[in-house]
């Protein structure tokens, strides 16, 4: 039986300055996340105690050193957010993790809130930096020179589902969903075939079908088994194959459709044989064809296009929900998914308000036509990069948004709210509201616990192994009548 799809994302951002000679991305990322006043006021550390990124979902543990920062470093590179999310430095990038949410629309909201938090931080950092050291931040996945950084989705799944079933049911879907989730890219990288413009930012970088790595030999199916929840009951599927989208519509459809397919996998509903002959080759073939007509070979010998394979999943999804209750939002996602595949089949250009890769392609096409230049002109590469610039006034996606040229899912008012307040219906609510109410007594947090410093010899821990608890419905009343942390503990245990 499918579990409720609690979802969260992690976004790595690109960071640079105009003249990067001697630029230190780590130091500047640290400065960046420590510049936001409201964020900085929270001194809690990140609790790594329950984390083990070296556990493999296929049932073994990989040996290797686990990195654990010192207390002081911990505070410098980790910021807990009032919305229940986390802002931190991962390697040489600033990174944002959204709080856990219950549906795709809320995911869009908290993803955009994350961009907003980064932008406030960037502005604050730039106030103290000299003109030549002003920071630029990009929400994309490649520098165009063979270096990629990630956008990771996390979906709660039932532990009882054998991992092989997930691999089998999900691979053809993940390889082909780029036809609507791709963020578009000028050129090819990583020794793939040359192309002027392709659908996905990330496809070129996937070199393995299944694996634990995220930084080298990237796999289409990532096997990290770190549930951040009751491990008897749950797994957290870590999807690393996606692009960062600027378009709210694309994020909504990406996460919505993926959650639906995962529920079908859990319920044994993905019964069509869509196994690809070579998923690693197919993901690049599909990405390299902006007409979306290129066929890829299935194991059973037939050839189907990415859109056709998506249609097979969509058909299964409509059938799956015939006998089940579905939320209005799930219906909306099924309808949008259907509509998008229809349009992709007719002429992808029609999605110039909806999908990143089409929005950007139309922008580049118009620019080249108007300025009478081709792909070799460096302004085209600049368009490709600046499309992802998070500045509201200069990011090209936001120029288009301001002109009403892209479709929206949420409002600016809702995004502003999502910067300061957690979603109501997951454990992120308890985390975010405790940070708001008992800020100085929160010693640390992880996804699955909160640590309180009550002035006693040892810190006190509240475990939160169940992601669907700690909700407003369950804890608001207790928080309301607990003026202090000790009252909170009394009320929780009493």
């Amino acid at each position: 039986m499918a579990v409720e799809k609690v979802v969260g994302i992690e976004i790595e951002f690109g960071i640079t300055v105009r003249n990067p000679q001697g630029f230190d991305p780590v130091g500047n990322s640290i400065l960046l996340i420590n510049s936001h006043e409201a964020v900085q006021a929270i001194k809690a550390i990140w609790d790594y105690a329950g984390e083990n990124p070296l556990l493999d979902a296929r049932g073994f543990e990989v040996s290797g050193e686990r990195e654990r920062p010192s207390q002081q470093d911990n505070r410098a590179i980790n910021k807990l957010l009032l919305n229940g999310g986390r802002l931190y430095v991962d390697g040489a990038h600033p990174e944002y993790s959204s709080p856990e949410v219950m549906n795709a629309r809320d995911l869009v909201l908290y993803e955009k809130a994350g961009e907003h938090i980064l932008e406030i931080s960037r502005q604050a950092a730039n106030r103290v930096l000299p003109p030549e050291a002003q920071l630029y931040i990009y929400k994309n996945n490649t520098d165009g020179k063979g270096n990629s950084y990630g956008y990771h989705e996390n979906y709660l799944m039932a532990r009882g589902v054998p991992f092989e079933k997930i691999i089998e049911g999900l691979t053809p879907f993940l390889v082909t969903r780029q036809v609507y989730t791709g963020a578009g890219k000028v050129g090819a990288e990583n020794q793939t075939d040359p192309v002027a413009y392709q659908i996905s930012q990330r496809a070129d970088f996937f070199e393995a079908w299944i694996g634990l790595d995220t930084m080298a030999k990237r796999p289409i199916i990532n096997t990290r088994d770190e549930p951040h929840a009751d491990e008897e009951k749950y797994r957290r599927l870590h999807v690393i194959v996606g692009d960062s989208n600027m378009s709210e519509f694309a994020t909504y459809l990406k996460v919505g459709a993926t959650a639906i397919v995962l529920s079908m996998v859990e319920d044994g509903w993905v019964r069509k044989d869509l196994a690809l002959e070579d998923p690693v080759r197919a993901i690049k073939e599909i990405s390299h064809d902006v007409t979306c007509r290129r066929k890829v070979r299935l194991k059973r010998g037939v050839e189907l296009s990415g859109v056709e394979i998506q249609r097979e999943y969509l058909e299964m999804a409509w059938a799956y929900y015939q006998g089940r209750e579905a939320s209005p939002q799930v219906l909306d996602i099924l309808e949008k998914w259907t509509w998008v595949l229809d349009k992709l089949e007719e002429d992808p250009w029609q999605l110039h308000r909806h999908l990143d890769w089409v929005i950007k392609m139309e922008l580049i096409r118009s620019y080249m036509e108007r300025r009478k230049v081709g792909f070799e002109d460096q302004r085209i590469s600049m368009l490709d990069l600046q499309f992802h610039d998070i500045r509201r006034e200069k990011g090209l996606f936001y120029v288009l948004e301001r002109q009403g040229l892209v479709e929206r899912i949420v409002t600016d008012t809702e995004i502003a709210e999502a910067v300061d307040f957690p979603p109501p219906d997951t454990r992120a609510y308890f985390r975010g509201m405790c940070l708001r109410k008992y800020r100085d007594q929160i010693y640390g947090a992880s996804w699955s616990s909160l640590l309180f410093d009550t002035g006693e010899a040892s810190v006190k821990k509240i475990p939160m192994a169940e992601p669907t608890r700690g909700t407003r419905k369950l804890v608001q009343e207790i928080l309301d009548r607990s003026d202090s942390v000790s009252e909170l503990f009394d009320n929780l245990t009493g």
Binding site: P20, H93, M102, R324, S327, Q386, E393, Q403
Partner: protein
């Protein structure tokens, strides 16, 4: 996904489909968009980073994840 739930009925045709309209509208829409984009391109040139070539060349990231 917990919201108010209701039974699913698959629509015969995709709900937001505007296929009923003749194909000509796609061309018209294209023309309209072209005019809008022409205006936007001017605005884009105003905000596009100067010395694009150098900027793009200098944009190098360490791999992440």
């Amino acid at each position: 996904m917990s919201e108010q739930e209701r039974k699913v009925k698959r629509p015969r045709e995709s709900p937001k489909s505007d296929e009923a309209q003749p194909k000509a509208t796609v061309t018209e829409k294209g023309k309209e968009l072209k005019e809008r984009m022409d205006e936007v391109i001017d605005e884009i040139d105003e905000v596009l980073e100067e010395n694009s070539e150098e900027f793009v060349r200098n944009y190098v990231q360490r791999g992440g994840e």
